[in-house]
């Protein structure tokens, strides 16, 4: 399938901002089951400097320097991506989860695809004993990693309430877990923390969902904004498998991957510092259209 994605981020400031230094992670990955066809970002006001590099995780990262005073910052990103992904069945056979853990602990690579980078606490995802205890029943001794993760995803979807007003980025995971509500980002962080508590490798994925669902299917939660889900390492054979706990779905052709990291802080699509206005109003609009 081929998608056209438009992702527009605007900041409105109360007082003029004289200087901004931003990092943009807006280029969709070319990866297993996904191919970037075209990509362009337009920024207003016009930046004094734009430099591009790949970060540790392989994410295309653009550093932008703005030196003209402005009250509005608009970042307009357009991408065309082709997706052809096949998810394993929810009950597909997979290695026992304990085996996955041992292999991850004994990894011999520090690279971005190595499971070892995703078994430890990260800045937004601490390992919390109650959360580990919550995840544990999904992983019976000797149970397959895939079935375990599917079960955990299903339970999170059932136990947590999607509420776009309940949390902000800085809401600690502990609070999200105790109050059992949040947005896609929180659902993903909860699942990641549960898996890592058991020593299992889980990564955070930012991306998009198609806006208009296929005929006869309900519109998915999170389709009009940037979305987030979880990628779990299921052994050398299955590799990394996508789990969307917000929608209780294995990731297939309705999801477009933007970038992958340990948690939101590694992949934040637009991030930066400004000099000037402490008061900001943010608006994000995402459109994902099926081209063919």
């Amino acid at each position: 399938m081929i998608y056209d994605i438009r992702h527009v981020t605007t900041y409105a400031y109360e007082s003029p901002v004289s200087f901004a230094r931003c990092s943009l992670r807006l280029e969709p990955r070319t990866d297993d089951g996904q191919q970037l066809i075209s990509h362009a970002v337009e920024i207003r006001p016009r930046p004094a400097e734009r430099t591009v590099r790949r970060d540790f995780f392989g994410t295309h990262t653009e550093s932008v320097l703005i030196e003209t005073a402005h009250r509005n910052l608009r970042i307009d990103s357009r991408s065309r991506v082709s997706v052809a992904r096949l998810a394993p069945g929810r009950a597909a056979p997979s290695p026992p989860w304990e085996r996955i853990r041992d292999v991850a602990f004994e990894a011999t690579s520090l690279g971005p695809a190595s499971p070892v980078g995703y078994v430890f606490a990260s800045s937004l995802v601490p390992v919390l004993a109650p959360l580990t205890a919550y995840a544990a029943p999904s992983f019976a001794p000797g149970g397959g990693i895939l079935m375990g993760a599917v079960d955990l995803m299903r339970r999170i979807r059932g136990d947590f309430r999607y509420d776009s007003k309940a949390t902000v980025i800085s809401t600690p995971l502990k609070e999200v877990f105790e109050k059992r509500h949040g947005v896609c980002q929180d659902f993903a962080h909860v699942m990641i923390a549960g898996l890592r508590g058991l020593g299992l490798p889980a990564a955070y994925v930012s991306g998009y969902l198609r806006t208009v669902p296929p005929a006869g299917q309900p519109r998915l939660q999170g389709a009009d904004a940037s979305h987030a889900w979880v990628s779990v390492w299921c052994g050398a054979e299955l590799g990394w498998v996508g789990f969307d706990p917000t929608n209780d779905l294995l990731v297939e052709n309705d999801h477009i991957v933007l970038s992958i990291g340990r948690d939101f802080s590694d992949v934040s699509p637009v991030d930066g510092i400004i000099v000037g206005s402490p008061k900001q109003k943010l608006n994000v609009a995402v459109d994902v259209l099926l081209v063919e």
Binding site: A107, G117, V119, F120, G199, I273, P278
Partner: protein
């Protein structure tokens, strides 16, 4: 001298008796080696030499010298903070040094230098190709688990071509008599500045003893370190900053000490900015390039843009500057990854592989539970192990930062630990419980053995690693010293590496051919200028408040004089004190309460006590720029004003004493401070505040209908009684008093004099703008001076005086806006918010 032999002999007998008394009960703890008593049960030679000389001092002399050491520490304001505390603690110094024989030390230094070099090599690999990991020499998890493994600098070549510039190891002597490593510090080791201070204090208190012991000097070590950092930059005469988290940091005193001693600029993240491909420091003369940053801020806080986004301690864009080779950071961000205990077990084989040598220094036997065999070993006899976190200081799942002695845990906690190690063994190491050696401390007139940890420092130089002969020794009360941090009951000690031969004395004085003569002492960071300006203002405001208190106090106590100070003048003084928030309300019936409150109130931010506290607080952010004498006066001033006084007489004399101290501070600044830009800001603060206060006093006491008593009060407040009387034979008259207090350019207390001084300062400061127009502070100051020069006393009515006061306030604000970091050109950056 012919009499010397006899003299010593006659001293020796009581000395030996005393020594026998001290050491009578000194016994090694069971199964524990000791520094004083060797393995053969006999005292070690270096210690015997020390105690021989020490016991030649009389008991009273020893106590006097101990007291003098403590006094020096207090007066110099050597402080630290225990984690989680907000108040500074006085530095607890053990009065006896730790003494290490040169031959013994030599072994230690070889081991430390090898270890430092090994770490440098490991870092180069890990942040480069990571062959050690792909070849299986180091498990990936042992690295990836560390919070200090910075993915952002993977593949970035460290500017200056090295990761480690400064390294420290905590060591202790094991039961086998060798030195063992307990911890490695590769991030931003602390303690070297405290070691320096300990040395200063003890060598002063026991100067002859110190000289006679042939103690290795530490100065050459610091010199070598400074020169190496300098050489790592890409230009001659580089600008080097010491990056501190700020005055609230636990070891801020040390940062200031080191910055002053090494001649580096003490900077905070806010003082720095990225411009182009370089780091710059915000100074009163605009942005100036910074070449080298010695950091005391942990890696993750260094760059809110790429690392911990919530950090206010760093510089946005710093990591990108590293990518562009624009600044040397010591140590390179990410170096802290090697502090992980998970790595300890792999070091012997890494040493063979990378250096082709056998690892010299042993460390405590460590099992990293991320490996199956080690995990099973630890779980099989958990009770025998000390469990520590594999990466950070904390043991995951256990709240205390101290190591967990599995054998001493209640059964429920032990089961919890067992489960945690089973689930996530990668987070834990098991370590052998060892008894490390003890050293004598002085307690109640005799010596007692106490466990200690010695921190040894190494600096990278172009010629290889150099080790500080000495170190930072922490002495614990508890038997297991491995987790000693400076907290309750912990003392520190100076460390003497002693030689049989005389040692060369050395200081930080460089050779004549290496220094270019310069008369302007570096740049003044905007923040330092801001603090200096406010220090000046607080000092002057404290002085004015004390003069008001004194005027009020003497008017009520002296019946002869009291009669002449009319009630309405007293009320006016009280009103000013109320406006300045020195006292809550004016009163006719109880003036004594007013002056007591204005002098000592803890709640009123305008009381003299609060003001000198503000002086102290501001001065503490300027430690590296103030002389020890100045700091000492400030400390004494605060301590004395905090002592409760009750009657009028003692209030007035407390005010007078404090005024004298303020005068000596002013004298120190005037006579001893270098006239480079820093001094100008201190003086500008003082001048601006004095001008404002004098204008206000003139308005209050030289109003259009003012009587002789009012004018008399004004002359007292502005300290012009004598000048006036020598100039005029009549009593105080309105126009002459106004002229003297406000317009007279020759009177150093007049408003006109302050404004002239401010003009001189502003003209001498660098201009920030390029468009050639006169800048706002100067515009205001020049206009004010013109007004004052041309004004006449007769027309100087209350309205004019009020306008003058407003203009002066505007001038002070304009100076602040123009030169200091909260000005429009240098706002603190904000994070972009929200889920974008």
């Amino acid at each position: 001298m012919s009499g010397q032999g006899n003299n010593q002999e006659s001293k020796a007998r009581p000395g030996q008796r005393r020594m026998a008394q001290w050491t009578r009960d000194y016994a090694r703890l069971p199964g524990t080696p000791d520094e004083y008593i060797g393995p053969d049960g006999a005292p070690r030679a270096a210690w015997t030499r020390f105690f021989d000389a020490f016991s030649a001092l009389s008991a009273g002399d020893i106590e006097r010298r101990f007291a003098s050491a403590d006094r020096h520490l207090r007066e110099a304001g050597v402080t630290y903070r225990a984690p989680g505390e907000t108040a500074d603690r006085l530095w607890p110094l053990s009065h006896l040094p730790l003494i290490i024989d040169e031959a013994d030390w030599q072994q230690l230094t070889t081991g430390i230098a090898q270890r430092a070099q090994l770490f440098e090599m490991i870092l180069r690999d890990l942040y480069g190709e990571a062959r050690l990991v792909s070849d299986g020499a180091v498990p990936a998890a042992a690295i990836a688990g560390s919070n200090e493994y910075l993915r952002a600098v993977c593949g970035v070549k460290p500017p200056g071509n090295r990761y480690l510039h400064f390294y420290a190891a905590d060591v202790g002597r094991g039961p086998d008599g060798r030195w063992w490593v307990l911890n490695d510090r590769t991030q931003a080791p602390s303690g070297a500045g405290y070691a320096l201070e300990n040395r200063l204090v003890l060598s002063r208190a026991f100067s002859n003893l110190y000289k006679s012991m042939n103690v290795e000097r530490v100065a050459p070590f610091f010199e070598a370190f400074r020169d190496s950092l300098r050489a790592s930059a890409d230009r001659d005469e580089p600008r080097i900053g010491l990056l501190t988290p700020g005055a609230f940091s636990e070891t801020y005193f040390e940062h200031a000490t080191l910055a002053r001693y090494l001649g580096f600029l003490l900077v905070e993240g806010d003082d720095l900015a990225v411009s182009g491909d370089r780091i710059h420091i915000r100074t009163v003369a605009g942005l100036k390039r910074l070449d080298v940053l010695l950091r005391r801020v942990d890696s993750n806080f260094l760059d809110p843009l790429e690392l911990d986004a919530s950090s206010h301690l760093g510089v946005p864009g710093l990591i990108d500057v590293l990518r562009k080779d624009g600044v040397v950071v010591a140590n390179m961000p990410g170096s802290g990854v090697l502090e992980a205990r998970a790595l300890l077990g792999f070091l012997p084989s890494l040493c063979h592989r990378l250096l082709g040598e056998t690892l010299i220094m042993p460390h405590i036997a460590t099992w990293w539970c991320g490996q199956k065999s080690a995990r099973e070993e630890v779980l099989s006899r958990l009770e025998d192990f000390v469990i520590e976190g594999a990466y950070g200081r904390a043991v995951p799942g256990f709240s205390s930062h101290a190591p967990v002695l599995a054998g001493e845990l209640p059964p429920a906690d032990r089961d919890r630990l067992r489960q945690a190690i089973t689930d996530r063994g990668i987070d834990y190491v098991g370590q052998e419980l060892v008894r490390l050696s003890t050293t004598p401390v002085w307690e109640e007139g005799r010596i007692t053995p106490r466990p200690f940890v010695l921190r040894v420092f190494a600096a990278a130089t172009p010629q290889g690693w150099t080790i500080m002969p000495g170190g930072f020794c922490r002495i614990a009360e508890k038997a297991d010293a491995r987790a000693v941090s400076m907290g309750d009951g912990v003392r520190s000690a100076d460390v003497w590496v002693v030689s049989d031969k005389a040692v060369a004395s050395a200081t930080l004085l460089p050779g004549a051919d290496t220094v270019r003569i310069r008369r302007i002492a570096g740049v003044v960071p905007s923040r330092a200028a801001d603090n200096l300006f406010w220090l000046g203002r607080y000092l002057e405001r404290a002085e004015a408040t004390l003069r008001l208190i004194r005027a009020l106090g003497t008017s009520t106590r002296d019946p002869a004089k009291g009669a002449s100070t009319a009630l309405h003048s007293v009320e006016r003084i009280q009103r000013i004190l109320v406006t300045w928030d020195a006292t809550s309300q004016a009163t006719r019936t109880n003036p004594a309460r007013v002056i007591a409150e204005a002098l000592q109130s803890e709640e009123k931010f305008g009381s003299a006590l609060s003001l000198v506290r503000s002086v102290q607080r501001t001065a503490s952010s300027l430690r590296e720029r103030l002389s020890p004498d100045a700091w000492q006066i400030i400390t004494e001033m605060v301590e004395r004003l905090a002592l409760q006084v009750d009657d009028d007489d003692s209030i007035v004399s407390a005010a007078e004493l404090t005024l004298q101290e303020l005068a000596s501070l002013a004298g120190l600044a005037q006579e001893n401070m270098n006239r480079a830009a820093g001094w100008r800001f201190l003086d500008m603060g003082r001048r601006a505040e004095r001008a404002i206060n004098t204008a206000r006093f003139a308005r209050q006491f030289a109003y259009d209908e003012a009587g002789e008593d009012d004018l008399d009060v004004l002359l007292t407040l502005v300290d012009c009684q004598i000048t006036y009387r020598s100039r005029y034979l009549v009593g105080p008259a309105l126009a002459p008093v106004r002229d003297l207090a406000v317009l007279d350019p020759y009177n150093p207390r007049s408003v006109a004099f302050q404004v002239a001084a401010l003009n001189d300062h502003i003209a001498a400061l660098p201009s920030l703008k390029e468009h050639g127009l006169i800048e706002r502070p100067q515009r205001l100051a020049v206009a004010l001076q013109a007004t004052l020069t041309t004004a006449e006393a007769a027309t100087l009515d209350v309205k004019t005086l009020f306008a003058l006061e407003q203009d002066l306030l505007n001038l002070a604000d304009a100076i602040g806006l123009h030169y200091f970091p909260h000005g429009p050109n240098a706002s603190r950056p904000e994070k972009l918010t929200g889920l974008a």
